[in-house]
Every structure is written in C-alpha cells, then in structure tokens.
C-alpha cells in the first residue's frame, strides 16, 4: 500500500515544478547579456560586475546582515528561555497570556506588528534606525524559535537531567552540560530561521527603520517598483546561492552529528 499511485507522482512533480520553475528562470536570466530582460543575448556575468559597483545595494546588504546577526542571536536566547518556561514551568500566573503572545506573532499580519512597534518607538522617543529594526525583528522571530525548541523539549528524556541532579549537579550546570547539548540542533535551527526571517523582512523593517538604516529588502523593493532590471536578477541569484549553501551545509552537519550519535550509541551498547 506504500506504493505511490500515478496521481501521487503527478501531483508531486507538478507541485515541485510550480515551486522551482520561476526561480530557475530568474537565475538563468541573471546571466543574460542582453539589457532587455526577455531577450536572450548569450551568457554573461555583466550584471554581477554591475552589482559590485552598486554602493547603495552593498551598503543595504551589509546593514541587513548586521541586523540579522544581532536579532537572530537575541531571538534565539529569548525564544529558548520562553520554550523552557512553557515546557518546564508547568502552571504559572499569566501562562495563558504568555502562550498567546508566543503564538500570535506567528500569524499576525506584518502591517499590524510593524505599525504597533513603530508607534511604541515614537512614544518612547527612540531614534529610529539599526536598533529599532533589530528589536522589532527579535520580537517577531523569537516566537518562531520558541515553537521549534518547544517541540524538541517535549520529546525529551528528562531522566538524564534527573540523574545529573541526583548526582549533585547544580541546576544551571545541569542545563549547560545535559539539556543544552540535547536541544542544540533545535536551537541552531531556530537561529537559522530567525536569521532568514530577519534578512527577508520588508514590511516590519519599513515601519521601524529610520534614516541611514536601509535594509536590503527595502532597497530591492524600491528598485522592483520601478520595473524589472537584470541587476536585480543578479542580486537575487546571489541570495539564493547563499541560502542554498547554508541549507546544504546545515543538513550535512546535522547528518554527521546524527551519524556520530549513532556510533556513540552503538559503542555504548557494546560496552
């Protein structure tokens, strides 16, 4: 019964074609020599060279990168704490509100979150720029980290922690030496997701940014509104390549760790 039917194969093939065809076309046309986006003028790296001279685009990319590094790290810390609170602390006062605040940002329309945060920053009279965008992204992405780490914590063997504590290991040290290594893959996945969401965000950054902190999506958005340009194809291809390398590296690393764990378990069984 595990045999896939003709219908199953066709729907998967069509679905994947739908997902990948537009991206493939975009990548191919970034190597187009012609200025006209739809006319094929032979292979060329012209638009990549052009990209290297586009200071505004490079500055925006650098800003986005720094914001993503700061906010993903802060979000991973806060999100992991929130996951521990939800899974390990059982009932505490305000728990319903807490879990509501964790799940709401996941589906909240971005225009609402962006507007609300901007109005907060205005009320606090904060100078808008790098830090306000970083705070906004941290708030949004920590909830995604929480959901990922939470599911890992739930399927987790608590007897290991209890054993460490029974042998006199203080709680904080137990967390560092037992809990953290076990949830590390989920924490790493959470960081990567937070980083990607931050690099990708246009709406919330548009609301909360200020002069001098133009992020890459804001920059690309203003270019795209003016029409299709081969140069944008080039920067998009670079971003796709970087994401692809990141994902492949992460899954290879995950595989290697899993293999090592299995070897360790096998050794343990022999002893």
């Amino acid at each position: 019964m595990r045999r896939a039917s003709f219908f199953n194969v066709v729907s998967v093939a069509l679905g994947l074609a739908f997902l990948y065809l537009p991206i493939a076309i975009l990548v191919i046309y970034s190597f187009n020599a012609s200025r006209l986006v739809t006319v094929w003028g032979g292979w060329s790296l012209h638009w990549y060279a052009e990209l290297l001279n586009d200071r505004a685009m490079l500055d925006a990319a650098w800003t986005s990168l720094r914001i993503a590094l700061v906010s993903a790290s802060a979000a991973t810390l806060l999100g992991t704490l929130a996951a521990l609170a939800l899974v390990r602390h059982g009932r505490f006062r305000g728990r319903v509100l807490f879990s509501g605040m964790i799940y709401a940002p996941l589906v909240m329309p971005e225009v609402i979150t962006g507007l609300a945060l901007l109005l907060l920053f205005v009320s606090l009279d904060l100078d808008r720029g790098f830090w306000t965008v970083a705070i906004a992204h941290t708030t949004l992405t920590m909830c995604f980290v929480t959901v990922i780490v939470q599911s890992r914590l739930i399927g987790f063997d608590r007897s290991l922690e209890e054993a460490a504590m029974d042998l006199g290991c203080p709680p904080f040290k137990t967390f560092l030496t037992v809990t953290l290594p076990l949830i590390a893959p989920a924490v790493a996945a959470g960081w990567m997701l937070a980083f990607t969401l931050s690099i990708d965000d246009l709406v919330i950054a548009s609301f909360t940014t200020g002069p001098g902190a133009t992020t890459l999506p804001i920059r690309i958005y203003s270019e795209v509104r003016l029409g299709v340009k081969p140069q944008i194809n080039a920067i998009c291809t670079v971003m796709i390549a970087l994401v692809g390398i990141g994902i492949v590296a992460a899954s290879l690393l995950g595989k290697r760790n899993a293999a090592r764990r299995e070897r360790g378990a096998a050794l343990g069984a022999q002893v």
Partner: protein
Amino acid sequence: MSATGQHEIGGRRSFGARLVVLVPYLWLVGFFLVPFAIVLKISLSQTALAQPPYVPLLDLAAGWDGAKAFLRELSLDTYRLLFSDAIYLFSYFKSLQVAALSTLILLVVGIPLAYGIARAPRRLQWLLVLLVILPFWTSLLIRIYAWINILQHDGLLNEALLALGIISAPVVWLSTDTAVYIGLVYCYLPFMVLPVYATLEKMDIALLEAAADLGCPRWKAFWLVTWPLARPGIVAGALLCFIPIVGEFVIPDLLGGSQSSMIGQTLWTEFFSNKDWPVASAIAVVLLCLLVVPMTIYEHLQQRALERDR
C-alpha cells in the same frame, strides 16, 4: 500592565528559574502587548499637523488633571469615518474574499502535494519535504520578483502562449487579481503542505489496507479514512495561510492592480502617504478584531497538537 510585571511564579523557585520566565515574558509584554495598547490609544485620537501627527498627547507631568483632560479628548470619530466610507469597507471585504479564495486554491493544490509526499518511499520523503521548504528560505521579495519576470507584458508566459498559438496578442497578466492569486498561492504553498503532510505522515497505513481488503474503492477510502484523520492538519494549514493573507501587503502591492486594494495596502497608504496615524491605527484595530477568532482557533489547535506529542 503593572499586574503582569510583578507576577509570582509558583511556589519556591530559585531566582534563576524565575528569570527563565520573566525575561521573555517582560520582553513580549514590552514589545508586543504594550504596542497594541498604544495602537488602540492612537486610533481614538485625531489627526493633527504636528510631530507626532495626532492629538491629544498624554502629558504625564500634568498628573491626574492631565490624564483626565486626555481621556476627555479621546473619541470614536476615526471609527465612524472607517464605517461610513465605502473605500475602507470595500477594502476589508476584498481582503477577506481574496484570502478565502486563495486558501481554497491552496487546499486544492496543497493537499494532493502533501498526500503524494506522504505516499513516496520513506528514504525520498525527507528530500521532498526539504524541496518544499527550500523556496520558503529564499526571500519572499525574490519569489514575487520571479513572477514579475514571467507575468510582465513581454514576459515568458505571453511569449510561450504566443509561440504555442494559444493567444494571438499579449494578455495583460501583471497588475490583475489573477497575478495576486498566483503570487499568494506560490508564496504560501509550503505553509499549507507542511501541516497536512505532518498529519498524513503519522497516519497508520494499515487503516487504508483494511479498507481496501474490505472492498472499499481508493477514492472512497480517501474520503472516509484519510480525510477525517488529516483534518487537524488541513485546518491548521488553512488558518496558517488565511490569517496572514488577509493582512498581506507585499504580494498585492507588487503583483496587483491599483484599482482596488487590500486592507494591508490601505493601511500602508494611510500611514506612509497620507500620514494619517489615527486612521491607520483604527484600520489595524478593526483588522485585529476580524482575525481574533481564527487566531484563537489556530492557537488552540497548536496547543492540542503539542499535548498529543507529550
């Protein structure tokens, strides 16, 4: 707000254990809950040519009298405007309609895809899931831009259709509702496929075998066995798409026409072009009221799924 700041966490927990709850809690209260209170406050204010562009301002230095004067100045005028102007009502209606129809299309496209993946050989499944997730990791803006390449006047879609002789003159695709639906389905497909796949994958295949052994045709087995078991995933996927699509800005802005806008675009225009902060805030408050029911259902489903895993 002060009550949540000084809550007690259970009985005798160490200071460090309390911090685990307190730090993220206070962060979310400060940067998620308080901002919404401010949105509500400003939606009750009036536009003014000032910096910030609304009145009244809460003057804390004036003490009680200041607060009382502030409260007297608040009014529901912005909401009256919102409900009397056809532009806003139409915008809400249009958003709900677009979100409902695109969620329906996503169900039709996403369920067979998820079902197909769940049916694939085990060693292929993780690769297929990865292939569905991968586009989600590339920027949303890039994915929409890819479609602009294809849908524009002299884009590849028109070229292909002309070459095949299906159309005799280029068709306008960009800046239409069709383009918005294509963009929405394209960008939200992973959010539909993954929850449905997650429930289908856990399904016991023996149930279908039993149905087949008892002479049940395949389509009927799907309807009587697979569908009810997959329903939690299907509902979660539908909500995960429907709720954000109602407030979507980027996709209709870049792919849609200017003749009718969704509520996310209306809010954006009111805020950035018209500098009307009270109206933008009121739009956000009403939108939130519309979405609070589906959001609560979604959270409830997530909690139940977690309890099951426990």
